[in-house]
Symmetry: C2
């Protein structure tokens, strides 16, 4: 799915959400949604705010971005990750349920990966009367970069 299509679907879902929750369709909300979908990967709230104001020249307050990102998350068009101190976000439409996250325990880096087979296993989850919406899978371990650093360190110690 291309980026424009993602945004279109997200806007649609967001409008429905706002309507059904009797919340208003303000320009701020849609400008923030667009900025969110302009990122290809993860971003923090601070990065989003910066992109809004400096790059997209849409003046909006931090409080409104916080408020809106919460609504977007509730609406299911944004996913929130809280691994380090600062929350990270990413678009959900055309993304969620289709990729998973590798987290390096050493450096904290987060990287995406795809796995069709795993995706199929996940879609088969049925747990009592719980209605499944989406999944978030974090695979913890050591990334290639940190592994090689540790290897070098070990070698030096052995000398």
């Amino acid at each position: 799915m291309e980026t424009g299509e993602q945004l279109k679907r997200a806007s649609c879902r967001f409008e429905e959400y706002l309507q059904s929750h009797r919340q208003r369709k303000t320009p701020e909300r849609f400008a923030i949604l667009e900025a969110v979908y302009s990122f290809s990967g993860h971003f923090t709230l601070e990065e989003l705010l910066k992109r809004m104001i400096e790059e997209r020249h849409f003046i909006v307050s931090r409080a409104t971005v916080y408020n809106t990102i919460n609504i977007l998350t509730d609406a299911g068009v944004v996913v929130r990750h809280r691994l380090g101190g600062t929350a990270e976000y990413e678009k959900a439409v055309g993304m969620a349920d289709s990729h998973f996250h590798l987290i390096c325990s050493k450096c904290g880096a987060m990287k995406e990966f795809h796995d069709e087979k795993l995706l199929r296993s996940l879609s088969e989850i049925r747990v009592g009367k719980f209605t499944v919406d989406s999944y978030t899978l974090y695979v913890h371990g050591i990334c290639a970069k940190c592994a090689s650093v540790m290897k070098r360190k070990k070698k030096r110690l052995l000398k």
Copy 2:
């Protein structure tokens, strides 16, 4: 695996971790580990501190509990969940990699579930040169309780 066995294995792993990281085996650290393993489910840092002091009569400062829980998490004997505002923790030995989490988007409740098949799929994950340690899977959706509340609400509106 019974609780005592879990704690024993966790202590062992923790000792190894401390040794290899040249960190000290203080009474505080092991008292905190024991308190952690005295919980059967999730708990917050505040709950842990309360159990330490009020129930187990081991006086320790909040700062030390924060410090220690971070080390325990790094050592892989505790898992941290950051879904709401406050972090929640749970023991990892005999738990992690063997159960997954259902999160209700409505009420925020977190519940565990087991799935042998899924566990097998996860253990087959291989992604480039990333060394896999453990997994954390969150399944988001609506819990049975919230679903029935919403259903009732809908019915009332239709009357």
